[in-house]
Symmetry: C2
Subunit: 379 residues, 2 copies
């Protein structure tokens, strides 16, 4: 791969996006895939997924407008953010979006007002399970409260349509889907007693990507999910909303070393990209996301480094204690793998350092999935 003219640059391999999408669709046959637009809304990524038959999930009117410019039919878009500004609901409903998540009486009132008769999807709280990107319990209600909300929605002229939950991003434990699916079953039974039959269960996202270590195969997730769906009281359409699992591994962030330093016995490498202009998830997760790394020097002699960003902010650090070429020097490139998800979308210009430029490649121009960073350690 030719060195980019300037760094930081995020290279997205669209063939790898396609491979990941197909892998997910094949592992979960009969389940509709609605890509989580927020994760990486680059138009070329969305266009490729649309061409492959992916559907989409949105959290705001702006995301919908972007999808519309790419020819996505609003009727196939799920509006999965349970709390929405009124104007966004009205805009989406007018455009043809007809399925909306909710988990509160306020949302029922807003939907009844500006999206009369809309199909509504109640959001259940998922029990806290181990996930590398922690959740704060912001959304979702318990099944008893869900029954009450669905009946209240029906009473306001809305159409009880589905139930959704989200186990948390980068979920490493497949059985995280088990308990929520049992709760879905309980809810379906209770609602049936009130004459409500649901059409859809939205299993959310959370499917993991490979960082330094590989997650369990998708087949293990599929097995848990299929068993859970089989246990439901009647058949419903099932959908998933993967984001990270679709695009993370397709991205390689090319950064330049702007300085190295020895401080208190530790070697530091400072890059032109850090938490604030592209790798905010490092900060969000307390540096637990271990992006696979490699450098352009690729020397046999190795050393351990703390990898940090260009700002004067001490929280701008990407990874502690990673192995790179011992002679890593100013001007060398560092390749950060699995950076296709939740990177550019969180980036700011803090301290005057711009976010990465993005270059999408495919076909002959693509280096092949993972080729830039090689196999992660221990593989």
């Amino acid at each position: 791969m030719a060195r980019p003219v300037s760094t930081p640059e995020l290279v997205i391999d669209l063939d790898a996006v396609a491979d990941a999408y197909r892998g997910i669709a094949a592992a979960l046959p009969g389940i509709a895939v609605h890509y989580a637009t927020k994760c990486n809304p680059h138009p070329d990524v969305l266009r490729r997924l649309h061409a492959l038959g992916s559907r989409f999930e949105i959290a705001s009117a702006a995301e919908l407008e972007l999808l519309e410019t790419l020819g996505v039919a609003p009727g196939e878009v799920l509006y999965s953010n349970p709390v929405k500004p009124v104007a966004h609901i009205a805009r989406a409903f007018a455009t043809g979006v007809w399925r909306f998540a909710f988990d509160s009486h306020d949302e029922i009132a807003k939907l009844a007002q500006v999206a009369p008769g809309a199909a509504v999807v109640v959001r259940l709280a998922a029990p806290r399970t181990r996930s590398d990107v922690p959740s704060e319990g912001k959304f979702g209600v318990d099944p008893e409260q869900a029954v009450e909300l669905v009946l209240a929605a029906r009473a306001r002229g809305l159409r009880p349509y589905g139930v959704a939950f989200h186990v948390g991003s980068q979920m490493l434990a497949p059985d995280a889907w088990s308990r929520p699916l049992r709760a879905v079953g309980w809810l379906m039974e209770r609602l049936a007693e009130h004459g409500v039959r649901l059409s859809m269960v939205d299993l959310g996202g959370g499917f993991p990507a490979r960082y330094a270590a590989s997650p369990l195969p998708l087949a293990e997730y599929a097995a848990v999910i299929e068993a859970g769906l089989a246990g439901l009281p009647y058949g419903v359409e099932a959908v998933i909303e993967p984001g990270r699992a679709v695009v993370a591994e397709a991205g390689t962030l090319v950064a330049s070393v702007i300085g190295t330093a020895l401080r208190g016995g530790a070697r530091w490498a400072h890059l032109d990209v850090g938490a604030f202009n592209g790798l905010m998830e490092s900060l969000e997760t307390g540096n637990r996301l271990r992006f696979p790394v490699r450098d352009s020097r690729d020397s046999a002699q190795r050393d351990r480094f703390h990898l940090t960003g260009p700002t004067c902010d001490s929280q701008d650090t990407i990874l502690f204690d990673v192995e790179l070429s011992a002679d890593l020097s100013v001007g060398d490139h560092v390749y950060l793998g699995s950076t296709g998800a939740y990177t550019t979308v969180y980036a700011s210009h803090f301290n005057g350092f711009a976010p990465p430029t993005v270059r999408c490649v495919s076909g002959q121009a693509a280096p092949g999935r993972g080729a830039l960073v090689g196999a992660p350690p221990g593989q």
Copy 2:
């Protein structure tokens, strides 16, 4: 105050900025104030501070270019980021910046190459002390290593000029400056043995702002700093680099309630601003920064809320367990005080939610410092 046409809107009271600047300058007479540009680089804020005689501290060439457009003389700017891209150093040096921080041999090599003869300021590590915005030890070396670095810089034709440290942002303990100042004294003595006499000590930033609770008065910080400076082996120019203490309290973020919800017994209020489009420090600090809050309803009947943002991301939460009007409803405004620092600079458009617009006010248009949010609880 008239309701803004659209929210979120960050209102910055430039008179409050001026008051805070004057208060800091008065509390620390004889110490030059270099405002930390990164904290809030709004041109109107910088212009007002420049007019008041404030100097500036930068961390990148882009920050310098912004200051230049406002008529700031580069010769009065400190380039305090210890690790800088070569091109940024060259750009700053060519423009007239002559003082550069460093803490590594790499930086010496870069400075000697593109800023020959520049004055250099060695960065000492400050011991970890209680601070609401945690530090990861990214910058700074111990005094022994500093001696070696200063001599190495001199050997490369650079001019040993000063020593700097930073105690950590929002530092609530004035005595955090004591130990680093003793280390500065030790360093000055050791360097004197090598014929090196320093001209400047940079005491960094870290001076706190008022959030829900008031910090100790500036006089207590000044007393510790004056005692520390008096204990140095010879007189040097002292400078500080406040950011948060200058601008935080001048900012009030006006947000709209987009929904309320009851989940698991807790009441949630969802606003059109959250961690990702303006309040990233909530996430960075684990929601420990207690912004004072008030709402437009201002009812006698109060209730406790978790205050969260508009995205579908569970980490988008601003504050847990704050008191607001019990009848808080969709469309009401919530005013978040002390939001003038480190807000817009970290904001992204994640999920399609735009950062706040910024409106600077002064004179008759200004509501008066703190008037929007009133006195914090317990005052």
